[in-house]
Structure formats: C-alpha cells, structure tokens
Amino acid sequence: MPGKTPDKEPVENGGYRGGKDIEMKEKDEQEQAASLKHKGKKAAKDGEDEMTVVVPPSKKQSSVPPPNDADGDVAMDDLDKADDGEVKVDPVVQAINDIKSNFALLERAVALFDARFTLRALRSISSIRKRLTPDIIAQVISETYPPTSGAHFAKSLLSAIGKENVPLGRQPGPEMEIDSEPKASAKNGPKKENNKEVIAEIDIFLAILVQVYLFDSKAYQLGAEFSQSLCDRIHSLNRRTLDSLSAKVYFYYSLFFEQLSPLPPSSQSPIVSIRPTLLAALRTAVLRRDIDTQASVIVILLRNYLQTSHISQADLLVSHTQFPENAANNQVARFLYYLGRIRAIQLRYTEAHEHLTAATRKAPSSACALGFAQTATKLLLVVELLMGDIPDRATFRQPTMEQALHPYFLLVQAVRVGNLDSFETIIAEHADVFRRDGTYSLILRLRQNVIKTGIRMMSLSYSRISLRDICIRLHLGSEESAEYIVAKAIRDGVIEASLDRERGFMKSKEVGDVYATREPGEAFHERIRACLSLHDESVKAMRFPMNQHRLELKNAQEAREREREMAKEIQDGDLDEDDLGGEFEGM
C-alpha cells in the first residue's frame, strides 16, 4: 500500500518527497541567513531565478552545454549567459567561487572549532544546488586537490560524476572561459601554499555536493553506490567538526536508497539493507556525542522502519535511544512527527496528539516546508478526531492547506454530524488519498467515533429517545447493537444518560454547567504551562558570544579603576575647588 509511506508528499504540492526534506533546510537558511555574507548573492540569484521565465535563451549558446536536463538548470544557464553579457560575471566562475567561499568557512570552523561556520556552509548548498554541473564540480575538485595528496579521494569524487579524466591540481581549461582563469587561480594559488593537506571537511563538503548533483540528476543507483563508500569513509574519520556534514551525508545516503526499486512499502526494498550501516552510525554518533548525526540518523531510521511498516521495530528504536535534546529544530520536528505516527498506530492518541501538535508547531512556517506541514497536519487531524475532538475550522481555511486538506475536511464534517452513511461514502471516495497519506487504517478506526458522536448528538437533542430510533438514525445493524453501543458510550463517559431495558429507550440526564467542572481550570492550566515552558525554552535557546563576559568584566574593571582614580584625584587636589568647597561654604 503506497499510502504507508509516512510522509508521502501530496500531489498538490508537487515534487518528490526528498525535495520536502531538503526544503525544510532551505527555509532555515532564509530565516537565519540574514547575517551571512553569501546572502546577497543568494538573494540576487533567487531574483534571477524568478526572472528566468522571461529571459529568452539568446547569446553565447556555446559556452557551457548544460549536461543536466532539468529545466531549472537550463534556464539558469541561459539566464546567466544573458546576464554575463551585461555584468561580465561568468556563472561558472560565480558558482565555483561560491563553492570555494565555503571552503574558507569550513577551514574557519576547524580552526575555531565552531560548528556554526559548518552550518553556514551547509546552508549555502541549496543556493549552489541549482547551478551544479559536473563541469563545475570537476573544476573545483581539480583546483582544490593537488595531484599528490588526497588524490585517491578526489579521483573517487570525479569518477562519481563521470569526469575521471580531469587532471588534478591544474586548471582543466578547455571548456571553461578564459577570463575565469586568473580569478580562480589567484584564489587557488595561496590556498595551495597555505595548507598542503586538504582538510577532511572540504572532502566531505564536496562529496555532499556530488551527492546533491547525483540526486538532482536522478542517478540514484550511482548515488547509492557513491554514498555507500562515502559513509564507510566518514565512519573511519573521527573529527568533531565533521558532525553536521556527516549528518547530511547520511541523509542523502538514505534518500538514494529510498529511490531504488522495489520502492519502500515493499519489504524487499533496498532501504532495509542500509539499516545496519545506519545503526552502526548511530552507535558511533552516540559514543562520540555527535548530536547532529545522532539526531538525523535516528530520524532516518524511524522513517526507514515506518516506510516498511515495521512499527514495533520503530517503537523499540525510540524506547532504546534518546533523542538529543538540543538537536536542530527541523530534526526535532521530524522526530516528533514520526513519534506521533507510531503512537497513533499504537492507539496512544494522547501522546500522539502531543507529539504531532509539537511537530506542526515546530515545522517551519515558510512555503518551502509546506509538504511537511501538510502531512503532519493531516495526521494531527485524524488523531484529533480519534480522540473525539473536532479540529478547529480555521485549520482548513489556511490558503496553503485548503486544497490538500479537503478530503479531511469532508471527513471531519461527517464525524461532527455523526453521519455513518456519509462517513462511509467519503472513505470510499477518497480511499486513495488516505492510503497515500498513510492515514487510511487510522481513519477506518474512526467508525466508532462517528457512532459516538451520533449518540452524543442524540443525547443532547432528546431527553428521551427509543433505541429503535437510535438504531435507524445511526444505521446500526440491530436494536441490540444499539443498546450495547449506547451502554458502552455511557460507560466511557461519552454521554450522561441511562437506559431502560424494559421499555427500550435512552433517557438523557441534565447536562451540567461546564464551568462548574474542573475542565476550564485544566484548560487554563494547560495554556499557562505552555507559556511558561515557551519562556523557559527561549531562555535556554539564547546564545551568548563566547568570551563576552570577560569583556564585560574587563569593562567593569576599567570602570572601577576610573572611579578609583577619580576618588584619588578628588582626594589629591581638586577637592577644595568646587564640590567640597561648596559644601564647606554651605556649612
């Protein structure tokens, strides 16, 4: 059943599932990139991207033959060529420089031991992504690696993109523009002198770029093989500055295997075979306190298990691992979603509801991560219904969600009214959608809720109603069924009523005032608690520059010294003149 895949992207959203995850990252970027230096470039590129549609493919057709047939790339190249005519900035050089500017970030990350620089480099991937071609990657590789050191790894990178014959440590030249050369080599020259060894971070960063390129060009088999060897390599490296990079590598690694046939819902899917690698990676990550990899591998594993419907394994994984507390927000959101899904299947709706609410709230609100938000919201709606709540009408009005949630809207309507008939027709009509969303089996469980709501409606509207009428209204099989069902509803606290067996009717009790119960208090308490924990979390999330407090101390010291000096001065000489003098006069 294809609907089993935990977060299949709805068609309305377009694009494959992988895109969603990546886009969640992209969103990050947009939020946080404000201070970054590549932001300007990126924004410009985005702008150009939009323009792409209008710019006709005009001149310099010959410069770089786009090897990638994705429209984006073609259009981009065209545009860049057009651009090139005016501004004299070559897109290839631009892309290469963009990639290389990240090397500096990575080097700084290693030197200063600050993971933030690495993250910054990772964020730029999505802006570079659209412009990647084998030529660009090959050129960067050949310029970065001197032929002596690291040649083996560089060769493997090159062979992955089908450019084995590009020599290392030299300008490849032929298909590149001449004016790119001085710039590139100028940038390249000093670098080679400074560090003879290319750091592992740059290796992996380039490898990620290769992965991204392979994924975008749909070379899944090749990508899977490449990722496999890459994972082996990462496993042998033990560098803390590599953590966030390797997390990314594993992410693409599993993404490649998901695309290989037979596709995931089948238990023969190749994703089953990557579990040992991932589990080994998880174990190593935990031992090394590598939070990034730990979080992302746990999420990947959960997704892996859920795709093949191995619920109990997923549950065991959750119970045997501890999700790192300060993991990246996006990973937390995903983890909560999968956790919510497991709990929903296990009928632990309250927990599922909690996790899913958190997941939808933590989901990035920008349009990039819409797929995730939609999928999580769908599941949340179903869980809410299963808990006997009716979801908020406003959820369905959001313009981004309206269309995707439409079948669920109909479903909610049916459940709200307690109409079994329309409930069944909606299920039958939209079965495909529900199956694709992986909510089908959960929705089938809703039947009892529909009945319960129906009974509740009836108990609210009639003070006394015969079982026969209930049976007819709710389309139940028989009067006896109706009796048992109503009795169960009474026991479960769905309605306040009593049954009279001899005369065969249900008598509703007077409905009490809700405000006399503890319910409002509880709801209030819930909200206060949410606010307080929000406050706590935001305090915890505050980040302080590392040595700032010393600076402050120094300032304080200086201030104290100044004060002391002033006091000294006052004592020494100036005291007679103004202040003290005045006082004396006053006396």
Partner: protein, 275 residues
C-alpha cells in the same frame, strides 16, 4: 535422509487429533533435524528444498500449540515463521499459492490472540505491517481475506460496542476454521465483563430475565451466579447495581482545590524565576 525423516514427521503431525504431548515430541525432533540441516531459519546457507518443509512444520507446530491452548508456544512459532514469511517473492521458499492461505490463517490466529489478550497496540502494529505484505506478487486484500478479515471485524465490533455481532460471529459456525474457535471462549468472558461494566453504569436496574440475554448466559441461575461474582444485589427478580459512581465522584472533587493550589504555587515559583 533428513529430508525423508522430516516428510514423515510432517505427515504424522498433519493429523489434528494428535495429542499435544505426542505432537510436541515429534515437533522437537523435527526442529532438531531442521537445525542440523541448517533450515530452521532461512539463510543463504540453508538448503532451499528444505525450507518450504520447515515452514510447513512450524505452521503445524503453531496450530498444535493453539489447539492445546499454549499461547507462549504459539507466539514462539509465529516468531520463528516470521523470517519465512518475509522472504522475497523470487525466493524458492517464498510463500505462494496454497501456502498463502495457511500463512494468513496463522497470522489471523495471532491477531486473534493479541485481541483476546487486549494487546491492541500490538494488534494494530501487526495490522499495519500486513498491508505491505506481499501475497503472490500483489498486496493482499486484508479485509477481504477469510482468515485475516475475521479478527479485524471482531476488533472493530468490540471497539464500537456491537457485542451482539461479536457473539454471533463466534457462535453460528462463522468461525473460519476450528482453531479460531479456541478464542471464542476467552473472548466471550471478555465481552461479558465488558457488557457487565457498561451495564453497571447504564442501567439503574435490570430484570433477571433480560439480563440473561444481555449477557449471553444460558440460564437465570447462571445470571445470579454472575451477579454475585460482580457484587450485584438481586432482589425481586431485579438486579440492582451498586452505586459505584458516587464514591468515584467524591475523590477527584477533593483534588480540585489541591490541584489548583499546587498549580498556583507552581506559577508563583516560575514567575519568580522570570522577574
């Protein structure tokens, strides 16, 4: 050699009337043989010709242990069968043809067992994985299957409270095969206590005669016995339920103020840290 021995063992085990202790000795002999010929769990090293036989033996073992009402043994067999069922379709020992029905029968029994032990979360986890299971190439129509549909329907009826339907499904020879009947007894006691607990809340009182049909009991004497078990008072042909509601209602009432105080104290503490 081992091959022939296993076949004879398998034939011997096929008789459903075989007493359980005899069957279990035969089974342990068979399992030893399988282990020696490396076929107890499918692995690349195991001889492919023996694997279907191994699966059949394990299935027979599962059925025998169900007939003997030995749930732990049954679960062990189901766990041992799991690797056989998840073999890829191209595999020589993969489930296909007539074996599909046998497999579904075992899985259905397992589901029923979970149901009778009220392990609903495992029931649903199992159900979820059924949907992706392959049965001779295409996905199985889980609900339409004779063996699998039965526990699923039962679960649905139990959940919504149509106990009469459950009752009917268990009685009138609607059980897909005799092994399923084993669970009827357990499930009957289960639904009876369910009905009893809902009746306690739903009815102020009940006449003895109709309680009989309500609880699916055979005679009024049985009703009285049952009533005494649950601590119900029987007077003038009527059953009166102890007013359980009042005591239960008292307890949380007290809590309300205490909870409120605790909450407010909590807020105060929190505010202090904020300000």
């Amino acid at each position: 050699m081992a091959d022939r021995q296993l076949t004879t063992l398998c034939d011997q085990l096929k008789s459903p009337t075989l007493p359980y202790d005899q069957a279990s000795t035969l089974l342990s002999k068979a399992k030893l043989l399988l282990l020696q010929s490396n076929a107890l769990t499918p692995s690349p090293a195991s001889p492919p010709s023996l694997l279907p036989l191994a699966r059949e033996l394990l299935e027979l073992g599962a059925l025998h242990s169900i007939r003997a009402r030995n749930a732990p043994a049954f679960i062990r067999y189901v766990d041992q069968l799991e690797p056989f069922y998840s073999l890829p379709p191209g595999h020589p020992a993969a489930v296909s043809g007539a074996a599909v029905a046998e497999r579904n029968k075992i899985t259905g029994l397992y589901l029923l067992l979970l149901l009778s032990q009220s392990r609903y979360s495992e029931f649903h986890s199992e159900l979820e994985s059924l949907a992706t299971r392959e049965g001779g190439g295409s996905a199985v129509d889980v609900e339409g299957d004779r063996y699998l549909g039965y526990p699923i329907r039962l679960e649905r009826w139990l959940m919504e409270g149509s106990y009469d339907r459950v009752w009917k499904a268990m009685k009138k020879g609607e059980v897909p095969c005799e092994e399923y009947g084993v669970f009827s007894e357990i499930l009957t006691t289960q639904i009876r206590s369910e009905i009893a607990s809902s009746s306690e809340r739903a009815y102020p009182s009940l006449p003895l005669s109709s309680t009989k049909s309500l609880l699916f009991l055979d005679s009024e004497g049985a009703v009285v016995e049952f009533a005494q078990q649950r601590g119900w008072a029987v007077r003038d042909g009527q059953i009166f339920f102890p007013a359980a509601g009042t005591e239960a209602g008292e307890e949380p009432e007290k809590d309300v103020s205490q909870v409120a105080i605790e909450n407010v104290l909590g807020y105060a503490r929190q505010l202090e840290t904020i300000v």
